[in-house]
Symmetry: C2
Subunit: 146 residues, 2 copies
DNA sequence: CTCCATGCAAAATATTTGCAATTCA
DNA sequence: TGAATTGCAAATATTTTGCATGGAG
């Protein structure tokens, strides 16, 4: 969907548009869950078989610098990448299928203010992530295991 | 400080108290910032030079299972371990020196409820972490760099 | 004395770097 | 054409495993 926007962003920042980059961008931009470099590699090779894993790493690095993807930290590790939300948003991730969605409008400013005062810290950033079951996985669970 | 409690916990769970484990426990239990396995290794070797890095990994694994330490996820990675707070608490970490403190009393239940309804997710866990400058590092910054 | 635990070495992973060949602009 | 980019291979970095020895209980 937003693949073209991403490609524009790359071009505008002086990067060349190669088949490798197109393949990586298409995979990450159209997947709604966080993917590890190897997962991106596997998925993108079906579109461009000559792709190398190294290029996936390098492309993800650039996309992260441009703010198009972000690293997602989970219990299993923190090496998965996901489309970055526009503006200040937070993540909710499904524990079963990994599906991720963003939400905004966090009203935790009062909490931050309280903690700042109590601990004497100057708070610069905050990071909030929810996890649970997405609608589909709830349904599967309710209907019993298949 | 709580080193002894930790050692008790280990013993009560059927683990033997060895010099290696004492050294690792003492380092992690008395450090107020998150440490990587290698950092623990280096610090603990000054107390017990025969220590091996592998044992650090294995000990941290057990401490994590017992809920005595927790992994801390930061921008640089998620392989640092910190004393686990009792009960449900959240972290605030200093961006400069890495010092970490826990805070509790998060009143984000209304937020969680709202997001649950809007996205249809059943929220099971949440993870909130603040970062900024601790009092000491603010002071240093205010007084100019030394 | 009996196992659990250790440390070494080596294996298995994960990520980064050097470099000649390729390809976009 | 010229410089950016690629993919391979190899170098690092990180974590795990196999196994003989050592030490706690």
């Amino acid at each position: 969907m937003s693949s073209n926007t991403w490609l524009d962003q790359l071009r505008e920042n002086g990067y060349r548009l190669t088949e490798s980059r197109r393949a990586v961008v298409e995979v990450v931009a159209t997947t709604e869950r966080a993917l590890t470099p190897v997962e991106v590699f596997d998925a993108a090779r079906s579109r461009y078989p000559a792709l190398g894993l190294v290029t996936v790493y390098r492309t993800l690095e650039k996309l992260e610098q441009l703010g198009l993807v972000q690293r997602v930290h989970q219990e299993n590790g923190c090496n998965a990448y996901l489309t970055h939300a526009r503006g200040h948003q937070h993540l909710i991730i499904c524990k079963t299928c990994g599906r991720a969605e963003y939400f905004s409008g966090d009203d935790i400013s009062s909490l931050i203010q309280r903690v700042s005062q109590q601990h004497g810290f100057t708070v610069k950033d905050h990071w909030l992530q929810l996890s649970g079951l997405c609608p589909d996985c709830q349904k599967l669970r309710d209907e019993g295991d298949d």
